[in-house]
Amino acid sequence: MRSVLVWTAPVILAVALIWVLTDLGLWYSGTIVGFMMAFYVRRTWRSLWMTWLAVIGTWGLELLWQAQLVPIGEAASIVAGIMGFGHSSIIVITLTLVVAWLLGTVGTWLGLALTNFLPSRTFFST
């Protein structure tokens, strides 16, 4: 039970934080959260996976939530046309999630690179 909480709580908190910050216009909040996650977790792949889950999950959930109310797929199709990708909505939606992934990844990498200079911690090493 404890290990589940240790995994899920930070991800849920991260999702909430990213959601609020992106709503305020801070599109790079995934980078901030990835950075924080690296400090919290300090293990390369675990921090990356938790960050990815949080950033892609948040941006994906936001789009899914909006899609219940408004035609997000059509918006993606129009943006694809403007960007010169034909009318493929899936490209723009994928691109959105790739941007989220990239922002989270670089934040986590930066965090991990800094934690290399800190004393070792065994919080997540069990």
């Binding site: 599109w27 670089v106 990498w109």
Partner: protein, 834 residues
């Protein structure tokens, strides 16, 4: 966690910092053609808000800063807004609020174009346009217009209230991150609106309708063809019969006859070529390219309802979103319905409770070019009126996306800005650069109740010169061509003039003498860009080359109105959607005569048979229409190309000089010679080989059949016009996926339902309106009320427009009785009104 060696940790950190910084930077500002994807794709504030903004308005109450009293705005099914305001101030504020809510990106783009700030958002490719706009000085003119307005001026008050309404939306969008998607994809947010911006947009329209290159093109023709042939083939007065609406009698006091220059020097030609080459890189709206429009009115003796009727369809470049935003209003001093231009607080075309009006372009010459005398011995000076004068300088800084700011110094002479120093220093004197209180004039038009007030209101309208048609509830009709018509004291105004002072503008045609008519005996009035006055008119207003239309649409309209009685709205609909080609009706019988007795191949005979049984309508499914148009194109070319080739007319410098149906003068010449002068010397070849209209027609017909066979197959009945000719509605932002692609269509540049701009026509009726004071009004335009491509109101009227259908111009109370009538109640916000 096993620790890495120290150098690897530092290298890792350095790599992380660099890559993170790089990713954030690229996501923020974009790379290559891609925008900054971070803010653009942010699911909460990025382009995705387009979906939420596309939802149709719902009934709700909104707090708006600057209002005096609550305002109600009701929307009908097409999104037409019905404003009910209890003060005039609130009416204009609500208009600004509506325009910005539905057309903010369009407004920003239009002000940027006029203010020379396009490069700031689209990059260096717009720099030539920005530099030219700064030279031309729309912003200088706008500032002067603003400064000329008195504090209590109704136009000034309208602009201030309108500005507040626009800024209410900008402020709210900034707070919520809800700017239209194209701002996000281009990576910028709009600045606050100012009254100057509205006046610049007024200037944009003036430029599109009034800034022309006719004198430059004439100079190249004189240089290549020679003065005599140029004036013979591009005369001042049209050789064909036209239908001027003002037939006189005219004022006795005109101007002295024009004195001819007869030559164009090499330096002048170099300057002209340089300018025309430069102009080709500008947006299509920067130079007047001969857009066409129609309007007409009949009094009650001609109508079924017994009251006056009026119709208007201004022809402009068609875009999505449209140039027009439709609205109706009720306020203490204003009760109107019509179309407005986003960015400008009043409607431009429409009706009030008493009168209706519409516009067409006069097409008179409003752009004069001056050859300035300069000398290396007098740097920074020009010679004028016997002395060297200091050039006035204005300095600009043009921000360019991704690059350093570009400084620009504009040199001004007494005539206007210097626009080239290549070969010959040349300046331009454009009537649109003179302050014109158009907004005041328009507000007075909207409040007018009779022709006297209407005419008085337009006395201050200077540019662009427009044919304002009028009809009223009392049954009167009128037409007045308001605007500046410059008078020069000497020289050929249709060529670049001397800048030394001898050829200066000494005034304009007095308002009492500008073309006008009121309740004519014919009971009909119409304008379709034809020369609006007869040959006895005592003032110079432009040449056949200077964009006056051939008059074929005017001929068609005159014929229809003169030969019909008991006219109804349906008759006017039929006329507005008419695709009959008047010139074809004149020339095809002559072609048939030329072909009679000739030995024809089976395909030629079949093509001739199709022409024999053709009704002259340029319908999309008509094969005869294809044969006619291709024939006329060949006929023009076969007649004039030998002369053009011999004279080396520089068509590569300016494609407008090439031979084709866009050359109004040449169409009129060939029409007149074919009908009345079949052995005109122009049919001969430059080497003296004799030809006649008949022999050239035969040649052109043979070429036509061959060319259509090669292109569309051997069977002439398969040569439908819609296979050659299409209409398209491009997006204003030039994004192909946001426009309507070419679709086969009927009409041509001379039909009342005009299709202008080539074989893929992108200009035409931008608004069709019919007002019958007996039965009501209706209208349609090719677009929709919203600029949001996802909105149901983005292009919902296009289908009706394409099919010749209309929507009623209803009142707010009629809309409220319909099933769909969401209403916004705008309430004064915390900041209250002024």
């Amino acid at each position: 966690m096993r620790r890495s060696p120290g150098w690897r940790r530092f290298a890792n950190l350095a790599g992380a910092v660099i890559v993170t910084g790089g990713v954030i930077y690229v996501c923020a500002v974009g790379v290559g053609p891609l925008p900054g994807l971070g803010p653009a794709l942010n699911p909460a504030r990025g382009v995705w808000t387009m979906a939420k903004d596309a939802t149709l308005p719902k009934t709700e109450s909104l707090q708006i800063d600057g209002l005096n009293q609550p305002v109600q705005i009701t929307f009908d099914k097409q999104g037409t807004a019905y404003i009910h305001a209890t003060t005039d101030h609130d009416l204009f504020l609500a208009t600004g609020y509506l325009h910005a809510t539905f057309r903010l990106f369009q407004m920003d783009l239009m002000r940027r174009q006029g203010e020379g700030h396009l490069s700031q958002v689209v990059g260096a490719k717009a720099l030539p346009s920005d530099e030219f706009e700064d030279e031309l000085g729309l912003q200088r003119t706008a500032k002067q217009e603003w400064n000329d307005m008195a504090q209590d001026d109704s136009g000034r008050q309208a602009l201030l209230a309108y500005t507040q309404g626009v800024n209410d939306v900008i402020t709210a969008d900034k707070r919520s991150g809800n700017f239209p998607a194209l701002f996000k994809l281009l990576g910028y947010e709009p600045n606050a609106w100012t009254p100057i911006d509205s006046l610049v947009i007024q200037g944009d329209m003036t430029q599109t309708l009034d800034f022309d290159t006719g004198a430059l093109e004439a100079a190249l023709l004189v240089k290549s063809l020679g003065y005599q042939k140029t004036m013979q083939w591009f005369p001042i007065l049209p050789p064909d019969e036209q239908h001027p609406y003002d037939t006189g009698p005219y004022a006795a006091d005109g101007t002295a006859p024009i004195e001819s220059t007869e030559s164009v020097g090499q330096a002048e030609a170099t300057a002209v070529k340089s300018l025309l080459t430069r102009f080709r890189t500008f947006p299509i709206t920067a130079i007047h390219h001969g857009s066409n429009s129609n309007n007409w009115a009949v009094d009650g003796t001609k109508t079924a309802s017994g009251t006056a009727m009026l119709a208007g369809d201004p022809h402009l470049n068609l875009t999505l979103p449209s140039i027009w935003y439709q609205l109706s209003a009720d306020a203490p001093d204003y009760h109107y319905s019509g179309v407005s231009i986003p960015g400008v607080p009043s409607i431009l075309i429409g009706h009030n409770q008493h009168i209706a009006w519409s516009l067409t372009n006069v097409q008179n010459q409003a752009t004069l070019y001056y050859k300035e005398e300069t000398s290396s011995a007098h740097p920074g000076e020009y010679f004028w009126n016997g002395a060297w004068r200091k050039l006035k300088q204005v300095h600009y800084e043009i921000p360019v996306k991704g690059k350093a700011v570009v400084p620009l110094t504009v040199n001004l002479t007494v005539h206007g800005p210097i626009i080239t120093q290549d070969g010959q220093t040349m300046s331009v004197d454009w009537m649109g650069a003179l302050p014109s209180p158009d907004i005041d004039a328009m507000l007075n038009v909207i409040r007018a109740q009779n022709f006297t007030q209407f005419k008085q209101a337009l006395s201050t309208w200077h540019a662009p010169s427009q044919n304002f048609i009028y009809a009223d509830k009392a049954g009167n009709i009128g037409l007045i061509s308001a605007g500046y018509y410059p008078i020069v004291k000497h020289g050929d105004p249709y060529l670049p003039l001397s800048g030394t002072g001898a050829d200066d503008v000494i005034g304009t045609i007095p308002y009492k003498d500008v073309p006008q008519a009121y309740n004519p005996k014919s009971h009909i009035l119409f304008s379709a860009n034809q020369r609006v006055v007869g040959k006895a008119y005592p003032y110079y207003i432009g040449t056949t080359m200077d964009f006056f239309d051939n008059g074929y649409r005017a001929d068609e309209i005159e014929h229809f109105l003169a030969t019909h009685q008991h006219l109804t709205v349906q008759d006017f609909e039929q006329l507005q959607n008419d695709t009959h080609d008047w010139l074809a009706g004149e020339i095809v019988p002559k072609l048939e005569q030329a072909l009679s007795g000739q030995a024809l191949t089976p395909a030629q005979q079949q093509a001739a048979n199709l022409l024999n049984t053709w009704n002259g309508n340029m319908d999309g499914n008509s094969a005869a229409a294809s044969i006619w148009w291709t024939f006329w194109t060949h006929y023009l070319s076969d007649t004039f190309s030998p002369w053009w080739n011999a004279a080396h007319v520089p068509t590569k410098v300016d494609p407008n000089l090439a031979i084709g149906p866009w050359q109004a003068s040449l169409n009129e010449d060939l029409e007149t010679w074919t009908l009345h002068d079949e052995t005109n010397a122009a049919f001969n070849l430059p080497d003296g080989t004799r030809r006649t209209a008949q022999s050239v027609m035969q040649q052109a017909f043979h070429e036509t059949v061959k060319s259509l066979s090669d292109r569309l197959g051997k069977n002439p009945s398969d040569w439908q016009w819609a296979k050659l000719h299409a209409r398209a509605i491009p997006s204003l932002a030039q994004i192909s996926s946001l426009g309507i692609p070419p679709k086969g269509a009927g009409g041509d540049r001379w039909t009342v339902d005009a299709a202008d701009g080539g074989m893929v026509a992108t200009a035409g009726p931008s608004w069709r309106m019919i007002v019958d004071f007996g039965t009501g009004a209706e209208a349609v335009y090719p677009g929709g009320q919203s600029e949001n491509p996802l909105s149901p109101w983005y292009k919902d009227e296009v289908s009706a427009w394409w099919n010749g259908q209309y929507y009623p111009l209803t009142t707010a109370s009629q809309v409220e009785q319909s099933g769909f009538h969401p209403t916004w109640t705008l309430r004064p916000g915390a900041k209250g009104g002024e």
